[in-house]
Amino acid sequence: MPFWFARGLRRGVVTTRYPARSDGSAAFLPTPPAFRPRQLTGQTADRLVAVCPSMALRRQDDVLIFDVGACTACGRCAEAAPDAITPSGEFELGATARSALVKRIPIRGETR
């Protein structure tokens, strides 16, 4: 045991503020999508609903309903509609109610 204690000390302080500093590797973490309502047409919304493998997206008239709790951040939607979707960069989400994780995205794009 003293060996492990000494090893821990040698490596320095083990508790830090969080985050201690910005971390370049965070750029590789997959994150849920962020939507651009103006770029989102009804047609695009239907395509996104079809492409989502975890059924985190569904459409209700002129609103796209996005359940962040069901999203696995696979990135398929961003691949399917790069104009309307960007990665949110938000990988630490918290909410006190399940319903707070369900977002309503207005579909404002013009249907051509």
Binding site: F3, W4, G8, V14, S25, F28, P53
Partner: protein, 521 residues
């Protein structure tokens, strides 16, 4: 001159010749070697009649060097076809039999390894062994009604009637544990039967993670399906993705470009490295060695960052695609970053191997013998730690750079830990050799045609298998994906029962390093 492609799996007469000793007895029993379009490519296919299936299974189970790797069913019109995949050093053999009357002989009485598959086939297709022990629930939850999505027709009777009731009598009691367990561990229910301290019996409920992946693959093109296939078991994304891609390639009679095949091998070995680091961290957590756990987790995080820098994804998703790979690794990153990350792992392992309080918990814990491992069809480090030198890393890139199989004796947790340490070193060597030989991206185009194929890859937790049937439009009619976890959970209860106490179970689970998701799919 470098060949444009690695050779596709041998043509059927050649493959049958290499497995002559195995196929011979089946022919005596009326087995018919199939070589037309109805054959599973990548393996030797033998069609057996319903009435000789039992004798054929007995013959194969008694053949030295042959083990049951998988068993599954597929609905072909009105009949259900039962396929058994047998593994041999020189390749695979598939027996197929059309079942009649919703029953088949109780094969797990002959090959105990088949029990999990018997349970699965009953849940999904409603056909069961004619006799034998009561079945367990594997994939479908108890509340799964008649309209719950299944691969085949519904079971003829409510599942409750066929499933084992777990009752405890006498001086023992049942200690329920799970499905919600420690942070970061998958949902899994243990029914622990104990007399106070010793583990008398243990059974598992794994269905909490069922996602119906095989059901969802039907009707998809191989490229669409690859996304789901690698998510069958996220911690083996490369291995399962490779097995699936190889099955598709075998069915279509194509092979990936050599540089792409080497890229797959690099990704597969990186996957093995980070999984073994994660298993080491879990072992430390299970033994209460928090500094050791932190040391192993530092190594794990560094390895995941190497993955991200080399392939763009920490868990290497999306690298393998049917026909080839989507991207090549950044060779400079691997040469620059991997030695340091591995060194972190090596030093943590070295420190652990000189810590007596850690080793005391590992020695003689969760013992499995080679005989048990063979009988239960175990694979990967669990089987190798009993001295069985089995490894699915053959053919393709591993013909160029053969992998050295690391084994140990003892069959306990310490033996499994030693195998993992040895394999990590071997993986680093292999990655370096593959990078030097030249990795690249690229895909062989997939022809739009039908066929059936078998594919495999050695995941960090053992051989992953996939079997795919494509229709003439190139769409999947049935895909069977069997990660290594399915095989090795079969040996988990035996390991836990071998003279162990409660607190040994997390240690044994960490040393197996399986996933529930892979089991329940």
């Amino acid at each position: 001159m470098t060949p444009a492609h690695f050779p596709v799996p041998p043509s059927l007469p050649q493959a049958a010749a290499t497995l002559n000793g195995v196929v011979g007895p089946l022919a005596d029993l009326g087995g018919l070697v199939i070589s037309d379009s109805g054959a599973t490519r990548g393996a030797v296919t033998v069609r057996m009649l319903d009435e000789t299936l039992e004798a054929a299974t007995r013959a194969l189970a008694g053949t030295a060097g042959v083990r049951l790797a998988d068993m599954f069913a597929a609905d072909d019109g009105p009949v259900t076809t039962l396929r058994l995949v047998w593994a041999h050093d020189r390749g695979y053999l598939v027996t197929e039999t059309e079942t009649e009357g919703g029953q088949y002989p109780a094969l797990s009485e002959i090959v105990p390894a088949a029990f999990v598959e018997e349970c699965e086939i009953y849940e999904q297709f409603g056909i069961g062994p004619a006799a034998g022990e009561p079945l367990n629930r594997v994939m479908l939850p108890p509340h799964a009604g008649q309209d719950f999505p299944r691969l085949g027709h519904r079971p003829p009777q409510p599942l409750d009637g066929a499933h084992a009731r777990h009752t405890v009598e006498g001086q023992a009691f049942e200690f329920p544990f799970g499905p919600v367990r420690q942070v970061g561990v998958e949902s899994l229910y243990y029914g622990l039967v104990t007399s106070g301290e010793e583990v008398v019996d243990l059974y598992l409920f794994t269905w909490h993670k069922h996602r119906g992946v095989e059901w969802r693959l039907r009707g998809k093109t191989p490229r669409e399906a690859a996304f789901f296939a690698e998510r069958v078991e996220g911690l083996s994304a490369v291995a399962v993705g490779w097995a699936f891609a190889a099955a598709v390639e075998a069915a279509l009679g194509i092979a990936p470009p050599p540089a792409a095949a080497r890229t797959r091998a690099v990704a597969l070995e990186l996957e093995r490295l980070y999984n073994h680091a994660a298993a080491m961290a879990a072992l430390c957590q299970a033994t209460g060695l928090s500094v050791g756990q932190a040391a192993a987790e530092i190594a794990l995080e560094r390895l995941l960052r190497v993955n991200a820098a080399a392939f763009g994804h920490r868990y290497l998703f999306g690298v393998v695609e049917p026909g080839g790979v989507s991207r090549a690794p950044d060779a400079d990153v691997l040469r620059r970053e991997l030695p340091g990350a591995y060194d972190e792992l090596r030093r943590a392992a070295g420190a652990l191997l000189s810590t007596n309080s850690f080793l005391d918990r590992l020695e003689a814990c969760g013992i499995l013998t080679a005989e048990q491992a063979h009988r239960l069809g175990l694979v990967g480090p669990v089987a190798r730690a009993t001295g069985l030198p089995m490894d699915a890393r053959r053919a393709g890139p591993y013909d160029e750079v053969p992998a050295t199989v690391v084994t140990a004796d003892g069959g306990d947790v310490l033996a499994r830990f030693n195998v993992m340490i040895g394999e990590a070193a071997e993986s680093v060597r292999l990655i370096s050799a593959f990078v030097d030989a030249g990795t690249g991206d690229g895909r062989t185009p997939l022809p739009v045609t039908g066929g059936m194929g078998l594919g495999w890859a050695e995941s960090p937790r053992g051989e992953a298998l996939a079997w795919v049937a494509l229709d003439d439009d190139g769409r999947i009619t049935r895909a069977r994906i069997r990660p290594g976890s399915v095989r090795n959970w079969r040996g988990f209860d035996d390991a836990c029962r071998s003279q162990n106490v409660f607190t040994d179970i997390p240690i044994i689970e960490a040393s197996f390093w399986l996933t529930v998701a892979g089991m329940a799919r």
